[in-house]
């Protein structure tokens, strides 16, 4: 059966009508949030105290922690040095599918090295996961673990390459797509915990070697700063116990605030991330705590706000923050129609695994199994019927 377009059309109309009725309400909330941001722009100590008070009441609260910079501050781009190196990594994976003739997984990691004044370099690292590797601790390798392993390999490759490039006497920045906080973080799982520790170890080595690292979050949906401002409202209403549950500014996102504040090329104040998972980063070393700023990579008539995550060992040096800002802007200007760091785009292009490549890998594997006198398994009946549908 095809999609019932008539039903969907009615739903679209109904939902858009509801949205229209909420537009004014959201606008009012945004104005309120902007006023609060201005009112508290220099009251960092008050907000820190408030946050400290709330963290005893709501352990799952996720919001921004103010730095010493004015909350509504806007920091213009500084000129970048003439020479710098940017290493960007991205990963792609094939998740094991028990319905295929041969079960396997692949993690493909692409690295793009951009050096001023030289031809850029590409690196790709492909790893096939087979047999026991697909069942760590006798449990099937889930999407979550595979994504964590991919993230780990991205960071590992960045570190290895950064150490190779480090001899050059110019600043070196490593960049990944998405937050520095991992895709999923360990709760009780030992394997995830081990992978997380490995990740922290990579970050520690980067700190030790003086390598700047950042995570670039395109179109962020976060409301860390808005959540911080909500605490002020809850305090006035004497309902701090509801922090994290009641959302008096719900619907307003940080990008709404900062697209009104930041001129093209400007960054916001620095903030820390206050959350349980972020706290894990700084348990052993405060310098690994996660910080962020918003950056307007758009144009005067069309602001485009992104979030940049950096560890504290970068955030605490103003010159390093300025360097990250100017290099990201430089990179985004290369693709100015849809600003996005060129190096990250290229790393993705290098890493991405296409569907037809999955088929080639499966065939390679099946051929090798046959060459060794064995027989690969069969496609499951369910997959076989699915393939028939897609061929129609």
């Amino acid at each position: 059966m095809p999609v019932n377009f008539q039903q969907i059309r009615e739903q679209i109309q109904q939902k858009l009508t509801q949205l229209e009725s909420r537009t004014q309400e959201k606008q009012d909330l945004l104005e309120k949030a902007l006023n609060l941001l201005e009112e508290y722009s220099q009251k960092q100590n008050d907000l820190r105290e408030l946050l400290n008070q709330v963290s005893h009441l709501a352990s799952n609260l996720r919001c921004a922690e103010p730095s010493d910079e004015a909350l509504n501050g806007s920091f213009d781009e500084q000129p970048a040095p003439e020479h710098w190196i940017l290493l960007a990594a991205d990963g792609s994976q094939i998740a094991p599918d028990p319905h295929r003739a041969v079960e396997f997984g692949v993690i493909n990691t692409g690295l793009f090295a951009f050096q001023t004044g030289a031809s850029p370099l590409e690196r790709v690292k492909s790893e096939m996961l087979l047999f026991d590797e697909l069942y760590p601790n006798h449990v099937p390798l889930g999407e979550e673990m595979l994504a964590l392993q991919r993230d780990l390999r991205e960071r590992g490759l960045l570190l290895t390459q950064a150490l190779e490039f480090r001899q050059k006497e110019c600043p070196l920045i490593t960049l990944t797509d998405g937050p520095l906080e991992l895709y999923r973080q360990p709760q009780q799982d030992d394997t995830l915990q081990k992978a997380f520790e490995d990740y922290l170890s990579v970050l520690s080595q980067m700190k030790k070697e003086g390598i700047i690292t950042a995570g670039y979050v395109d179109r962020p949906r976060s409301d860390y700063v808005v959540s911080l401002l909500e605490l002020v409202i809850l305090r006035e209403a004497q309902s701090l116990r509801d922090a994290g549950k009641k959302r008096p500014l719900w619907g307003v996102r940080d990008v709404d605030l900062f697209s009104r504040i930041l001129a093209p090329g400007a960054r916001s104040a620095l903030f820390g991330i206050h959350s349980l998972s972020a706290k894990r980063f700084s348990m052993d070393d405060e310098d690994l705590a996660l910080c962020f700023f918003y950056l307007n990579v758009g144009k005067q008539e069309n602001p485009y706000i992104v979030r940049v995550e950096i560890p504290r060992f970068v955030a605490k040096h103003a010159d390093r923050v300025a360097l990250v800002q100017s290099i990201l802007l430089d990179q985004c200007r290369q693709l100015s129609a849809h600003p996005y760091p060129y190096a990250l785009h290229r790393a993705h292009e290098i890493a991405v695994v296409h569907y037809d490549e999955r088929q080639v890998l499966e065939n390679m594997l099946a051929m090798e199994i046959r060459r060794r006198g064995a027989e690969p398994g069969q496609v499951s009946h369910k997959q076989s019927h699915k393939d028939n549908i897609s061929r129609r």
Binding site: S119, P120, L121, Q334, L335, S336, H345, E349
Partner: protein
């Protein structure tokens, strides 16, 4: 000493022609009309003439083109690293099997990713001297190629190779053959002869 004449790889092929991709910084990027060979195995290779050299578009390149000041490093990346920026067609004009050159169409087509080699002057002389210039009919039959220009470019390359090998009269025989082949098509003949007149001014 073996010359490294490989410059690109086969992307697709039919009996009549092939599609080849190469990178711009590789040495020996062929000129329009160059004679090339595609070795399929130790005893068999296909010969072709380069035409329709073009740069494939992609969305990244489109975006970069719309950007005011692109960094030189980005330009180099797109020319040197990104996948096969230059493509061209090869018009098949013959083949070689166990040392015997034929100007018939190749009985077996080359396979994807075969390496394409630019013919050396000696190889050009060897191919164009074999038989009675029968491969000209493949050029005349080409649907998409600018036939007069392709003839002119090929004859310029071949006549130089023959002249250097001690046969300055090869081009006259080639022109005679073209006149014979096009005797019933005055318009086409004039187009080709006009292009060859330009060759005469350039050739040794």
């Amino acid at each position: 000493m073996t010359m490294n004449t490989g410059f690109g790889r086969l992307l697709g092929a039919s009996t009549l022609e092939s599609l080849v991709g190469c990178r711009v910084t590789q040495e020996n990027v062929p000129a329009f009309g160059s004679l090339v060979r595609l070795p399929v195995d130790d005893h068999y290779q296909v010969y072709g003439l380069v035409y329709n050299i073009h740069i494939e578009q992609d969305n990244t390149v489109r975006q970069l083109a719309a950007t005011g000041n692109i960094r030189e490093e980005v330009v180099r990346d797109n020319r040197e690293n990104r996948t096969v920026p230059i493509e061209f067609n090869l018009l098949h004009v013959g083949y070689e099997d166990h040392g015997h050159i034929s100007h018939l169409l190749p009985p077996r087509i080359p396979l994807s990713l075969e390496v394409i080699h630019l013919c050396t002057p000696a190889e050009v002389v060897r191919f164009t001297s074999a038989g009675r210039l029968g491969y000209f009919r493949h050029i005349l039959r080409a649907q998409q190629a600018p036939i007069p220009e392709l003839f002119a470019a090929h004859l310029l390359q071949a006549s130089r190779a023959h002249a250097a090998g001690g046969d300055p009269h090869w081009i006259q025989r080639a022109q005679q053959e073209i006149i014979i082949l096009l005797r019933d098509d005055y318009a086409a003949l004039m187009n080709v002869l006009n292009a060859l007149a330009d060759v005469a001014q350039t050739a040794p």
